[in-house]
Subunit: 228 residues, 2 copies
Amino acid sequence: MKTFNSYKNPAIAVDLVVFGYHDKVLSALLLNRNEEPFKDGWTLPGSFLQMEETFRAACSRILQTKMGLSDLFLEQLYSFDDPARDPRGRVISVAYYALINPHAFNVVAGKMANDVKWFPVNKLPRLGFDHKVIFKTAVERLKAKILYYPVGFELLNDTFTMTELHELYECVLGIDIDRRNFRRKILDAGYIINTGTKRAGLKNRHPELYTFNKKLGENQFQLHIQIE
Amino acid sequence: MKTFNSYKNPAIAVDLVVFGYHDKVLSALLLNRNEEPFKDGWTLPGSFLQMEETFRAACSRILQTKMGLSDLFLEQLYSFDDPARDPRGRVISVAYYALINPHAFNVVAGKMANDVKWFPVNKLPRLGFDHKVIFKTAVERLKAKILYYPVGFELLNDTFTMTELHELYECVLGIDIDRRNFRRKILDAGYIINTGTKRAGLKNRHPELYTFNKKLGENQFQLHIQIE
DNA sequence: GCTACTTTGTGTCATAATCACGCAATTGAT
DNA sequence: ATCAATTGCGTGATTATGACACAAAGTAGC
C-alpha cells in the first residue's frame, strides 16, 4: 500500500472571516500583512494547514497567535480552489467563519502582522488573494444562518434588550423589520428568556433584559423572511 | 517571495456523493475498489486533486473515467479533515454531491474499479475511509436543499407527474406530505408548468405531465416543512 | 408637580398560508 | 354498467404574517 504524501500536492490554507457586532454595525476582522505577497495590504487572517492539524486546530492557532482570541463560534464556510488565487502557487483555501462579541474580547495584533482592525462589512478595503470572494460568501452564509440559528447569542452580550436583538437582525439582513412583529415572533418561538431585570440609567423607558434560551434545539426557530 | 509547493503538504482528495432517484427510492452510486486500501470494499467515487485542477474539473474527471458520466448537477458539500480518515497518510477530502436521473444515463464501471452500483440510501454497505460521514452529510444537505431548490429537475425525467414529484419529496424528506396540499403549494409557487399532455397507458386516470419552470429564480420557492 | 418627548411593551385586525379533510372526475378491468 | 384505483379540485378551521394604533415607563425642562 503506497503512501501519498510523497506526491507534490497543492498547499492548503485555512482562512477566517471573523464577524463582530459593534455600535450597531456588523464588522469583520482584517489583518495588515507584513510580508509578501500583498505586503502592507489587508487580507483575512489565515495560515497554511500543518501536516497533522485539523481545520479547527488551525483556526484556533490563527485566532490565538494573530489576534489573541480563543474559543469562538466557528463554522466551516466553503473551500476555494481558483488555481490563480495565490500568486505563490497552487493553494487551496478552506474558509471558516467565526462570530465574536467584540466587547468580550480584546483584539491584539500578533507579531506576524502589522495591524489587526475591525472594518464595517460595507466599508471593506481592497483585499488580497481572493479574499473578497470568501468574504462575500461568508456574509451570505451569515444572512442565511441568522434566520434559523441564534446568531445573536455569539454576537451580543449575555443579556440584551429586544431592541438590540432587533437592530442586529436588521443590520445583518440589511432590511427593515417591523419592531412589534419581530418581538412577537421571537417571543412566541421561545427563542429568548426574559431575565426579569431591566436596563437602568437610560433616558427613556427602561427595556427588559433577555438571554438566549439554551434549551432550544436546532431548527426550532425560523424567521420567515423572504430575502428578495 | 517564496513559493510554497516545496513544502510537504497534506494530499487533497475530491470525493463524490452521486444521488439518483429510481423506482421510488433515493440511491447513491458506490464504487467497489480494486486496490488497497479497502480493496474489494465499497467507497464513494473519488480521486486525488491534481496540481492545477479545480474541484469541479476533478469531479468531472472522476465521473467520466470511473462511471462514464458527464454534465451533472454538482455542488460542493463540505471538506473533511480527520487526520485518521485515510490509512495512507494525511488526506483532506473535499466532498461534492451530484444529482442524476438514472434513466438518462448509463453507469459503467471504469477500469479503475471492480464495480459501480446504485445502493438505496438506507441500505448502504459498510464504507471505507470516513465515507459514511460524508454520505450522511450529503443526505442532510439534500433534505435541506429540496425545500428551496427544484432538486426534482435533476432527478426526474424532463416531464413528470405530480404524483412522481410528490413521491420524490416524501422519499427524500422521509415524511408524509398531504398529496393535495403539496399540489396546491407547488402549483401556486409557479414551480412547475403543465405541459397540457397526459401520460397514457395507465390503468387508472391519466395524470397530467409537468416540466420545471426554468424561469423561476433561486429562493423563489420554499416548502414550509418543519423537519422534526 | 406637570408637560413634552422618546422609547418600550401590548393589542388588534385584515390578509395570507397552512392543515386536514371531502368529493367529483377519469381510467381500465370485470 | 359497475367497481376500484388514482388524479384533480375545493372548502373550512386554524395559524401565521404584515401593518398598524395606542398605552406605559422613563427623563428633562419648566
